[in-house]
C-alpha cells in the first residue's frame, strides 16, 4: 500500500500546482496516514465496522490518483421541485458551482489553501484526506446574511472509475448572524471505490447551520464522511443523516459547542437491506455553559444488514447547565440483522442533565395484530409501523421545504 500511495501522491503533486509549503504539509499528513493506515477493529472507534477489512475484501489494488478529466454535468441529476444553489462534484472534481439565487457580495468562495483549516489528530482518514485532496474550497457567508436557497452538494461518481480513492474536502465559514442550509446529495454510478469526505464548518455568533446528508442511491462503494462543526455563542447546528444506499458507509459528526447557549442536533435514519453495513458516530463536546444537544437515531434493519451507532456526549467541568440527550432505537426485521450501539456519556460537571437511551427489538406483535384486526394485511401493517417509526425522525427537521423533499425521497406517508 505504501508504495502505491507514494507514487500516486507524487502524481497528484505533479499534476497540481501546490506551493512548496503546501507540499511539505501534505507530505506530513501522508506520512501520518502511512504510519496508522486504514483503521480496523482494534481501533475502539471502529470496533463495530472494520474499514481495513472492508477495503481489503472489496477493493482490489486501491488507487489514489485520479486523472481528473473534466466531465459533462447532466442537468437531469438535479433535484426537482426545489430551487437551490449547486455545487457538483464528479469523481471528486468540482465541475460546477452555481449560486445564482444569492447576492454575490454576501457570499464568497475561496480556493486558497489555508493551513488554519487543517484538522489535526482526528483520525488517519482525515489525514489521508488532507494529504491527497488536490483542490481546496472555502465557502464564506458574510455577516447577517441568510442564504436564500439551500445549497445542494451533488457528489457523483461515474461508472468510469473503479478501485479509486476519492477525497473531497469543503470548508464553510458562517459569519455572525448568518444562516445556511446544506444538502449533501450523493449519487453513485460506480463500484468499489473508497470515498472519503471531510467538511469543516465554523459557526460564529448567532449563526445557523442546517446540514442534511442524503445517501440514497444503491451502490457498491465504501464511504466515510467526517463533519467537524465548531459553534460559537448562541449558534445552532442541525444535522440530519439519511443512510440508505451505499454498501458501507460511516458518517461521523463532531460538534464542539464552544460558545454559551450554542446547541447541536443530530438526527439519523438507517433503513437498510441487502448486506449493507452502516454506522453513525457522533461526538458532541459541551465546552461551555448552557449548551444543549439532542440526538435521535433510528434503524430499520433487513436481511443481512448491520448498523451501529456510537454517540458520545462529553461535558467539560466548566460546562454547567448542560442539557444532553441521546436516543437510539432499532427494529430488527431479519434473523441475520445486527444492531450495535455504544451510547457514551463522559461528564465532568455536576449541574447537568444528561441522559441516553437505547432500545432494540422486533416489530411489536401487538401493534401488528391491532392493525390486522382492522383489515390491513401483514405487509401493510408492517409498512405502516415502519413508516411511523421513521417519520418520527424526519419530523424533527425544522425546514419544511427540505422535510418534504426527504419525505418524498423516502416515500414516507404522513
Amino acid at each position: 500500500m505504501e508504495k502505491q500511495l507514494r507514487t500516486d501522491f507524487k502524481k497528484i503533486i505533479d499534476s497540481s500546482n501546490f506551493s512548496e509549503k503546501e507540499i511539505i504539509t501534505k507530505e506530513k499528513y501522508l506520512n501520518k496516514f502511512i504510519q496508522y493506515g486504514f483503521p480496523g477493529k482494534k481501533n475502539e472507534d471502529w470496533k463495530f465496522l472494520d474499514l481495513n477489512q472492508a477495503i481489503k475484501s472489496n477493493i482490489e489494488n486501491l488507487n489514489y490518483f485520479n486523472e481528473n478529466l473534466p466531465n459533462e454535468v447532466d442537468s437531469k441529476i438535479y433535484v426537482d421541485g426545489l430551487e437551490h444553489n449547486k455545487i457538483v462534484f464528479i469523481n471528486g472534481r468540482i465541475e460546477k458551482i452555481d449560486f445564482k439565487y444569492e447576492e454575490s457580495d454576501k457570499f464568497e468562495i475561496k480556493d486558497q489553501f489555508d493551513s488554519e483549516c487543517l484538522l489535526n489528530d482526528v483520525n488517519s482518514l482525515v489525514d489521508l484526506n488532507s494529504a491527497l485532496t488536490n483542490k481546496y474550497y472555502k465557502i464564506q457567508v458574510k455577516e447577517h446574511y441568510t442564504v436564500k436557497k439551500p445549497v445542494i452538494i451533488y457528489s457523483l461518481t461515474t461508472s468510469k472509475i473503479s478501485s479509486k480513492n476519492i477525497n473531497i474536502r469543503l470548508d464553510f465559514d458562517l459569519k455572525s448572524n448568518s444562516s445556511l442550509r446544506v444538502i449533501d446529495y450523493s449519487m453513485d454510478k460506480s463500484e468499489n471505490n473508497f470515498v472519503n469526505i471531510v467538511y469543516n464548518f465554523n459557526l460564529e455568533k448567532d449563526a445557523i447551520l442546517k446540514n442534511y446528508k442524503l445517501d440514497k442511491e444503491e451502490n457498491n462503494n465504501i464511504k466515510y464522511s467526517y463533519n467537524n462543526i465548531n459553534l460559537d455563542t448562541n449558534s445552532v447546528a442541525e444535522n440530519f443523516i439519511l443512510s440508505l444506499g451505499s454498501k458501507f458507509i460511516k458518517n461521523e459528526i463532531n460538534c464542539n459547542l464552544n460558545g454559551k447557549y450554542s446547541s447541536a442536533f443530530v438526527n439519523g435514519i438507517f433503513n437498510l437491506d441487502n448486506n449493507k453495513n452502516h454506522e453513525i458516530r457522533t461526538s458532541i463536546n459541551h465546552l461551555n455553559e448552557n449548551t444543549k444537544s439532542f440526538q435521535l437515531i433510528k434503524s430499520v434493519l433487513g436481511e443481512n444488514t448491520k448498523s451501529a451507532y456510537q454517540g458520545k456526549i462529553f461535558v467539560k467541568s466548566n460546562a454547567q447547565k448542560t442539557d444532553g440527550y441521546q436516543l437510539s432505537k432499532a427494529i430488527l426485521l431479519s434473523d441475520n440483522s445486527e444492531f450495535n450501539a455504544k451510547p457514551e456519556l463522559e461528564i465532568y460537571a455536576d449541574d447537568v442533565k444528561c441522559s441516553h437511551g437505547s432500545a432494540s427489538g422486533s416489530l411489536n406483535q401487538d401493534s401488528i395484530f391491532y392493525l390486522m384486526s382492522r383489515g390491513l394485511n401483514y405487509k401493510e401493517a408492517k409498512e405502516l409501523l415502519i413508516n411511523g417509526f421513521l417519520l418520527d425522525v424526519v419530523e424533527k427537521i425544522t425546514d419544511n421545504e427540505i422535510k418534504n423533499l426527504i419525505k418524498n425521497i423516502m416515500g414516507l406517508k404522513e
Binding site: 441522559s355 437511551g357 432494540s360
Partner: protein, 478 residues
C-alpha cells in the same frame, strides 16, 4: 453526638495492621515462586502444571490499557505472591488453636469467628493475606452435604470437583489479570451445594490484606448443582499503607439446571488517603456461568473502597431460560477511581438479564460504568433491561457511562437507559424545610437513589452497606 459518630466513621477504621510473623514466598514472579506456592500448599501435580501453563501464557500477554483510570506501571517482580501467618504451617484444627492475634484482628474488624457469637448464623470463611484462617459452621453445613471450605482444602479433599470446574468459567487463556491469578492464586473459598439443597444460611468470606508489598490473589469457586440455592457474601478490608497494593482475584460461579446463586459483595478496601496516596488496586475478574436450564445468577455489589476498582462481574447465560442480574452501587470520593459494570452474554433461548447500576462520584474522583449486553444469534426471545444512573457532587469529579449494546437476534429486546444529574435543589430544599440539616438531607436522598440496589442485599449486609454509603460521602457535601 452525630458529629462524633461522623468523626469516628470518617477515618478508615479498618486501617490498622496486625503484627504477625509471616512466611513469604521469595519476592517476584517466577516459575520457582509458583512451585513454592504449589509446594507449600501440597498441591497435586496437575494443578502445578495448570499454574505453569497459565504462567507461560502470561509471559506473552500484555496488560490491558483501555480502561479509564490509568495507574503507574505495576512492577510484578516487586511483589510477594504468597504471605501467610507463620503459625499456619499446619492449618489449625479448630479455633482454639488459632493464633490469638488473628482472632483479635477479626474481632476488631467486627467478624467474630467464634460461632456461638454469631447472631444470625452466617457461615464465614476468613481469608488473611494468602490463606484461609477459619471456616465456621462447618458441621451444620456438612449435614446437608454442602461443602464450604477454603479452596486449598477443597483441592485436597474434593479434587474431582475442583478439577472439573476450576477454570471452566475463567480459563487460563483469559485476560492478563485473570491469567496472573490462575498462575499464582493462593487461597479463597470453595462452595458446592448438592442437588436440590437450599443452603440454610448465608455463606460469607471475609478477605483481609495485612502484609505489605503483597498482592492478594484469591480464587473463589461456587458450584450450585441442580435445583439448589445458595447466597454468598463477600467483604474485604485492608490496612492503611502508603503504597498501592494489588488485589487480583478470580471468582467463578457455575449454576446447573434450576439452580440459583446470589453473590453479594461489600467492598471496602483501603481507598487511599485524601490526596490519593496509597490504597488498593482492585482488579477482579468475576464471572458466572448459567450452564443449566432455568438457572439464575445474581450479582450485587456495593463498591466503596479501593484506590482503583476495575471489575465487571459478568453472566454467561448459556442455559435456556436462564436469568442474570446485576445490581451495583459504586461510590468514589477524594481521588478514587472506578471503572466497573457488567457483561451479559445471552446464548441460550429465552434468557433474561437486568442491570441496575448506581454511581455516585464526589471530590476529585472519576467513575465509569462500562457494560456489555450481547444477544447472540440463537438467543431467541431474550431480553435485557439496563438502567444506569450517576450522581455527581461537585465539578471536580467525573461520571461516565460506556455501554456496549449488541443485538443479533430479531426476536429479542434490549432497553437501555442512563441519566446523569446532581441532587436537585428542590429535593434538598424540601428536606431542609422539614428540619433535616444538609448532610442528613443528602444522606436521605442518596439512600433513596441507591434503594433499588440496597434492597437486593441480605438483611445484615444491607444495614452495613447503608451506613457505608453514608460514610463514604461524608465531607463531600456543601
Amino acid at each position: 453526638m452525630r458529629d462524633k459518630q461522623v468523626q469516628d466513621l470518617k477515618e478508615y477504621k479498618y486501617g490498622f495492621s496486625t503484627e504477625i510473623e509471616n512466611i513469604k514466598a521469595p519476592k517476584g514472579l517466577s516459575e520457582d515462586v509458583i512451585k513454592f506456592i504449589s509446594n507449600i500448599k501440597k498441591e497435586p501435580k496437575w494443578l502445578l502444571e495448570w499454574r505453569l501453563k497459565a504462567y507461560n501464557r502470561l509471559k506473552v500477554l500484555k496488560e490491558p490499557d483501555w480502561q479509564k483510570p490509568k495507574y503507574p506501571k505495576i512492577d510484578y517482580q516487586d511483589l510477594y505472591y504468597y504471605s501467610a501467618p507463620k503459625s499456619f504451617k499446619e492449618k489449625p484444627k479448630n479455633l482454639n488453636e488459632l493464633d490469638p492475634k488473628l482472632l483479635e484482628t477479626y474481632k476488631k474488624l467486627g467478624i467474630p469467628l467464634q460461632e456461638q457469637k454469631r447472631l444470625n448464623g452466617i457461615a464465614v470463611d476468613a481469608v488473611f493475606d494468602s490463606v484461609s484462617v477459619a471456616t465456621t459452621f462447618k458441621d451444620t453445613l456438612t449435614k446437608q452435604g454442602i461443602i464450604f471450605c477454603s479452596i486449598s482444602e477443597a483441592i485436597q479433599k474434593h479434587p474431582d470437583l475442583v478439577k472439573k470446574y476450576l477454570g471452566s468459567v475463567i480459563p487460563i487463556t483469559d485476560h492478563y489479570f485473570a491469567t496472573l491469578n490462575s498462575a499464582v492464586f493462593t487461597d479463597g473459598s470453595f462452595v458446592y451445594v448438592p442437588q436440590g439443597v437450599r443452603c440454610p444460611m448465608e455463606l460469607s468470606t471475609y478477605f483481609r490484606i495485612n502484609a505489605s508489598d503483597t498482592g492478594q490473589f484469591e480464587r473463589t469457586l461456587i458450584i450450585a448443582d441442580k435445583g439448589s440455592y445458595v447466597s454468598y457474601l463477600e467483604g474485604c478490608t485492608a490496612p492503611m499503607r502508603d503504597e498501592n497494593q494489588l488485589h487480583a482475584a478470580n471468582v467463578e460461579l457455575v449454576a446447573l439446571d434450576d439452580a440459583e446463586i446470589k453473590y453479594s459483595t461489600v467492598q471496602n478496601w483501603y481507598p487511599g488517603d485524601k490526596d490519593g496516596k496509597g490504597g488498593i488496586y482492585n482488579f477482579v475478574t468475576k464471572r458466572g456461568l448459567c450452564q443449566g436450564k432455568n438457572s439464575k445468577i445474581s450479582w450485587t455489589q456495593v463498591e466503596t473502597g479501593s484506590a482503583i476498582t476495575w471489575k465487571y462481574p459478568s453472566c454467561i447465560l448459556k442455559g435456556d431460560n436462564s436469568i442474570g442480574e446485576f445490581y451495583s452501587i459504586a461510590i468514589t470520593n477524594n481521588h478514587q477511581k472506578a471503572d466497573t459494570g457488567t457483561k451479559m452474554i445471552h446464548i441460550g433461548k429465552n434468557t433474561k438479564s437486568k442491570i441496575i447500576s448506581k454511581g455516585i462520584s464526589a471530590g476529585y474522583s472519576d467513575m465509569t460504568y462500562r457494560g456489555l449486553v450481547d444477544i447472540s444469534k440463537n438467543a431467541n426471545n431474550s431480553s435485557n433491561y439496563t438502567q444506569c444512573d450517576s450522581l455527581l457532587m461537585g465539578n471536580k469529579c467525573g461520571a461516565h457511562t460506556v455501554p456496549y449494546i449488541k443485538n443479533k437476534n430479531s426476536a429479542s429486546n434490549i432497553a437501555h437507559e442512563a441519566t446523569t444529574s446532581k441532587i436537585s435543589e428542590d429535593q434538598l430544599h424540601y428536606c431542609q424545610q422539614r428540619g433535616l440539616n444538609s448532610e442528613d438531607a443528602v444522606g436521605l436522598i442518596v439512600n433513596g437513589f441507591c434503594k433499588e440496589v440496597l434492597q437486593q442485599l441480605p438483611m445484615e449486609f444491607a444495614v452495613e452497606a447503608q451506613k457505608l454509603v453514608g460514610i463514604s460521602l461524608e465531607g463531600s457535601v456543601g
